[in-house]
Symmetry: C2
Subunit: 131 residues, 2 copies
């Protein structure tokens, strides 16, 4: 006997993640997440273990922040989100990747990237312009 396992729509799951976060709908946000979710920021080597701590982290995040999805992608195993992040009126671009439990239809891992401005290295001015 084979258990029935629905094919999750990763793109819809990522879109729902961004929507619930922006609306601070913590109950609906938590319902998208695996209880054993792991959240990581590779740039700071920070990790949060567990859905409840991760919801707390987001609910407590200081400042007037907003998330505007620009690109939402997903398949049965992974998802990605490029979004405009606005914090107290300052806008920047940020990225998240997701691992999904295809059977449960839940997010099991979130990996966040917060790319900061930096000065370009010299030597490529002959092909590059600045804006």
């Amino acid at each position: 006997m084979t258990d029935y396992c629905p094919r999750v729509d990763g793109q819809a799951l990522v879109a729902a993640f961004a929507d619930r976060l922006e609306r601070r709908d913590w109950a609906a946000f938590g319902a998208l997440l695996d209880p054993d979710l792991v959240y990581e920021i590779p740039q700071t080597r920070e990790r949060i273990r567990g859905r409840d701590r991760y919801v707390t982290f987001n609910a407590e995040f200081p400042g007037d922040w907003h998330i505007e999805p620009l690109v939402v992608l997903g398949d049965e195993h992974h998802g990605s989100l490029l979004f405009r992040w606005t914090l107290d009126g300052e806008a920047s671009l940020a990225v998240a990747f997701f691992e999904l439990d295809a059977c449960a239809g839940r997010i099991t891992k979130v990996t966040d990237f917060w790319p900061e401005p930096y000065e370009p290295p010299p030597g490529r001015e002959h092909v590059v312009e600045r804006w």
Copy 2:
């Protein structure tokens, strides 16, 4: 009369992009790109206009660099790539997003992110661990 427009497989296009780049197969790499491709690095506000300049930029990129795809996603309009970037033996994670011409089966825009390490802000130690 309606022109025939094939449905491009964005995921395969992104996988091919990473493969041709890693193999320095510049002819095959260029064949994936629209002649009017735009490349941007939002962190440095750098922009390259045109396939030929973008191929030159990659072919001239200094150091012993390697690209190992970790997550490859795509639909008819967009793609994303999370990859391990190794430069002269130093590994880090980097991200690219893609815009695609669904009819031509080519990449029209590449947006690269090079997230650097930073120190986390205080105030979230009660939910976060470090590694």
